[in-house]
């Protein structure tokens, strides 16, 4: 299937809308574009250039590439204003989580946006000890993104005020937490393996 947008012909994935509906459990089709979500969404609408209802429309049209490769999905802060105001009860935050999860499983990277890098480092730190060390996380992020000198002044201020402890805390149940990581990652891989399974005949 193809979709024509602004004179451009875009490839459409016929299974994408179903896949997002299944993963998020949300009735995307009920959206009638009243834009109550859009009026409450500053990060995505203003900075990201796509309002939540536009994103729902793109999903319905099967524009998988445009959605999961969009920088806007990483600008969404999950503030949940959109869903709280939706007259049709669509939790758009759950839809956002579903598309971000797909982007993550498919190893999509967005040029110039380091949100995914941050989230990966966060989960890595959590997996290793069962808790986050904010000091370690900030340092790792700055190293990884080569922004060592950004926020240096803030880092010093935090350190002086005793807010960046240098010895990270771990928990006794960290093996259990690691097992939870492995189990959930495996489940996620299975879930995202073949969205069109059983539907090819249609």
């Amino acid at each position: 299937m193809r979709v024509i947008s602004h004179g451009e012909v875009l490839e459409s994935d016929p299974c994408f809308a179903e896949e997002v509906k299944n993963h998020s459990g949300q009735p995307i089709d009920l959206c009638y574009h009243c834009q109550k979500c859009a009026s409450g969404c500053l990060p995505m609408g203003v900075v990201g250039g796509i309002t939540p209802n536009q994103l729902l429309r793109m999903i319905s049209l099967g524009l998988k590439d445009q959605v999961i490769k969009s920088p806007a999905i990483w600008i969404c802060t999950a503030c949940e204003t959109c869903g709280a105001r939706c007259p049709n009860g669509i939790s758009i935050a759950a839809v956002m989580d579903a598309v971000r999860e797909m982007a993550y499983t498919e190893n999509i990277t967005v040029k110039g946006d380091s949100a995914l890098t941050f989230h990966r480092l966060f989960l890595g730190d959590l997996k290793s000890r069962g808790r986050i060390s904010e000091s370690f996380l900030m340092a790792k992020y700055k190293l990884k993104t080569l922004q060592l000198f950004n926020d240096m002044d803030l880092g010093v201020k935090l350190l002086i005020r005793g807010k960046l402890p240098l010895i990270p805390k771990g928990i006794k149940g960290k093996i259990k937490v690691r097992n939870m990581f492995d189990r959930s990652e495996e489940k996620m891989r299975i879930k995202h393996r073949d969205p069109c399974e059983g539907r090819q005949a249609r």
Binding site: L42, P43, V47, W74, I75, T77, A78, C79, E80, T81, G83, A84, S91, A93, D97, A98, R100, E101, Y104, D113, S114, A115, T117, F118, H119, R120, F122, L123, L126, G130, R131, I132, S133, E134, S135, M138, Y141, N150, D151, L154, L158, R161, G162, K163, L164, P165, K169, I171, K172, G173, K174, K176, V177, M180, F181, R183, S184, E185, K187, M188
Partner: protein, 284 residues
Amino acid sequence: MKLAYYPGCSLEATAREYDQSSRAVCRELGIELKELDDWNCCGSSSAHNLNHLLAAGLSARNIALAQREGMDITVPCAACFARLRKADHLLKQGGEMKKELEEMVEFKYTGQVGIISLLEAVVERAGIDLISKKVKKPLKNLKVVCYYGCLMVRPPEVRGFDRVENPVMLDRLMECLGADVRPWSHKTECCGASLSLTRVEVVEGLVARLTGAAREAGAEAMVTMCPLCQSNLEMRQKGPGKMPSFYFTEMLGLALGLPDTPEWLGRHINNPAGLINKTVNSDK
């Protein structure tokens, strides 16, 4: 009254004063806090952004720990509170998800553990009456706006906290402490949350809108209840004349005359000393 206390990772680092003030205020109000033994990180935004099952599992483990101890959980951090409530909501709904979480965490969910924010513990369990009797130094002439942020109130069906567009619980508390609480329009707007490191310019823009709206309402300070809101307000405000912001527990510390309050306030990036001196000295 005894509650399991879930501080969360921020309260061990950038929000240390929130941890210290929460413990001290609860002690003063007769709420016994027992730190949840061996609690793990809730996964925050990162877990639910990348793996919703892991996000629910991490909080389910904490619920399992509290269940074993037979206590309700109280949470100062809005993000941790939101994640715990979300996992509890999924477990309550039952079905496949509940089964999966029970297997993952190796426990049997009873639904007996209540999860409340620290603000609710203070306002509803200790009570406004008790607090008003204990106020030693009313926060006279301190003009504030109460900033609730996102995660304490949304989504309403999961949080069940106060009113979603115009919550008033913190306003009532601050009035009881004697502050001049200003009505304003940005109580539940987003501060930019975890974009603080990855998209600084977005957070700076959102914070500027918040402080602008607070000034327009005639406030001199903002009162928060989320470590991320507080640190974004403190670290991502640009320009001179930065507006101070405080955790609500620090305001309680000031009004109840708790001796460690200056130490907590000393950890702020935007030094609030001028404003505090003015407030404290105004009733002399």
